[in-house]
Symmetry: C2
Subunit: 409 residues, 2 copies
């Protein structure tokens, strides 16, 4: 049998999805699994999207232009002007099949195999898979739960830059921590990118989920860093349309965009129907975003209050995206998460969370952390907290019985 490629052998399994077989087994036993493991909002996709889809559901379902429909790129540019407050034109936008494809294109056209990419860890785990696939070397800079995952000082960041450094990638607001990097942090990074002539790639798909501000500050505000900054965007989270697979590369660096367009031409086009729906979504009024934000802020408060009442759980001061990275009083959170699915239920329910270590590159980091996505209604979040409270008690009893040492938290 022919062997797989090295990258084919090295690709990691998704830490977000790898516990799915245990969740399915729990469901088959009749246990309700509260899914806090994946960033799939439960909010209905706005009706304007469905109206357009139903209207367009006829005739020939043809390819769209490789760069996406002009009408969509114009609507996205208008959204940038009106909601984000930055001057972006249709020609600065390439429509992609989700933010995932946007990032793969950017990695392909900006990085040679062997080039170094700086990631602030914990980071969205799939960044690592895409980097491995492209032969990019990961250089992690750890941020710490005790410091609320703050950006390290610039002198410290400088230490990680080598002649092989080609870019820095951050997510802001941050999946998985719920941290939000303020304007000053972004300015530090943008100046660093300019000073060392490297790319600053910012995944801003959670821009609207920023409870301390009207909207997350976009790196596109720094016009002087236009050649260095690339934004990864998507309609998935802000419009609860993850299954649409509509994302974008947004940059004023036309070389990057032109090279990405050649990749885009090779794969022909993003999905056609959902592009029409996306135009309607991007025209939603400010009140839509406000309501969305209110909903998730209430959930955050409910979740935080619940988690803080559980002994030994460390909850950082995060208030963005719809994630919290918390520390649990367990030795190995992956073992605990699996145990919750395999061996535990409380009032017929259990909880699925994403083990923290899958979001770190450095070994042993995040080993007692979990990422919790608050994508359920408050009532369900309260139930999830109770499952977790009783689960931690039962797990402690069971692991003590097995003479396992728990870390002191």
């Amino acid at each position: 049998m022919p062997t797989l490629s090295q990258r084919g052998q090295q690709l990691p399994a998704s830490p977000i999805r790898k516990l799915m077989p245990y969740a399915n087994a729990a469901k088959q036993k009749g246990i309700e699994v509260l899914h806090l493991n994946i960033g799939q909002p439960d909010i209905p996709t706005p009706e304007v999207f469905w109206e357009v889809v139903r209207e367009k559901a006829q005739g020939v379902l043809a390819y769209s232009p490789s760069e996406g429909f002009l009408e969509l790129r114009q609507a996205w540019a208008t959204y940038y002007k009106e909601h984000v407050g930055v001057a972006i034109e249709a020609e600065n936008i390439l429509i992609t099949t989700g933010a995932s494809e946007a990032l793969q294109f950017v990695f392909a056209v900006c990085f040679n195999p062997g080039d170094e990419l700086i990631l602030l860890e914990p980071f969205y785990a799939n960044y690592l898979t895409f980097a491995i696939e492209k032969g990019i070397e990961i250089v992690p800079i750890t941020t710490y739960i005790e410091e609320d995952f703050a950006l390290p000082p610039v002198e410290s960041l400088e230490n990680y830059i080598t002649p092989r450094t080609k870019g820095i990638l951050i997510c802001n607001p941050v999946n998985p921590t719920g941290k939000y990097y303020h304007c000053e942090d972004l300015q530090t990074l943008a100046e660093l990118a300019q000073r060392h002539d490297i790319f600053l790639i910012v995944d801003e798909v959670y821009r609207e989920f920023c409870y301390s501000e009207r909207i997350g500050y976009s790196v596109l505000h720094f016009k002087e860093a236009s050649e260095h900054t690339i934004v990864i965007d998507s309609i998935s989270k802000r419009f609860s349309s993850c299954g649409a697979r509509i994302g974008a590369i947004v940059t004023r660096n036309q070389q990057v965009l032109e090279a990405a367009l050649r990749m885009a031409q090779a794969r022909l086009s993003p999905p056609t129907l959902e592009q029409w729906g996306a135009i309607a979504l991007l025209q939603l009024p400010q009140s839509y975003y406000q309501e969305l934000k209110n909903t998730f802020e209430r959930r955050l408060n409910t979740l935080k209050q619940g988690l803080q009442s559980i002994p030994g759980v460390v909850v950082p001061n995060s208030n963005a995206a719809f994630y919290l990275m918390v520390q649990l009083p367990v030795k190995d959170s992956e073992h605990f998460c699996q145990w919750l699915l395999e061996s535990f239920s409380y009032q017929g329910k259990t909880v699925m969370m994403a083990p923290g270590k899958g979001f770190y590159f450095s070994p042993r980091s995040g080993i007692n952390e979990v990422r919790i996505a608050y994508v359920l209604k408050e009532e369900k979040l309260q139930q999830a907290v109770e499952v977790l409270r009783h689960g931690l008690q039962a797990y402690k009893t069971q692991t003590q019985y097995q003479n396992l040492q728990l870390p002191s938290v």
Copy 2:
């Protein structure tokens, strides 16, 4: 400004789409452009697809499983059993965002940078872009219009195999030539792959467009080559649903499928709505395919008859897919195609075709060939033939005036 990666700089522009600006300019002058340049069928997408899409157009547009909905994988397996006649199970199928993503995944997990991929040229041009992006070395084996693009004898194929050869990729029926490789040709290739322990990747998206047989013979019939054969599939062409972006990797090699699944997990999921529609498409009866085939066979006959009546045009004996690669009495078909769009019209119409050289890796090959996609109604095809006939006359006059030498054909 940071430099692009080498692959970013090397990616070729799509030969199928690069003349688009000239076509748009012609349209702005009020000229009707008959599009024979792109494989976008004009047949309405079957109504069952739209019915399902409209029915599912509500609620939360959520991610699907990364491997695609089980119901879709089962429907596709049933299609394989009932229409293609091969025993394929749902677990042999990974749903992808079009055949384009399927091929990118296969390249990623099977080939190291520097590995050699054998392509029979002329080939679908985007294979080259994907190969360059993955660092794969292309080894072209030329097939010739004078030989109706026949597969070279096996002794000749053997000469191209080196210790770095990792796979052979063919399209069957062939985009761009319209050639169909029979069972015996496929057996030759499958045995070659087994003998040298390399992958045989077959793009079978045009399987139903095979006018000499009920259906194109699938390489999946060769069970003894199960570990070596990988099929790339898509609903785009057979169900006229190019904009749906639903494809598949089909193989009995579970290692390949598991590695591709890790890529699939990283990009989250293929489009959700269209997967539901695809299930309905794959359940269409045999009569649907028969009618489709009759339609395209009539078009092929109309087009061939027309082209054969134009002096100097060489039409090979091809009768599959919905393409013909023909030789024109011109020196440089790209120049001619551009000229047709920029400087010519006949009765208010002109024709857009894909220049042949973009489908060859060897320099100067295909320089006087064009790919014609017969994706228009017979009446339009007849008009296109007349445009081409008069265009060739006018171009000959003009180029003679410029003292350019035309090749003797």
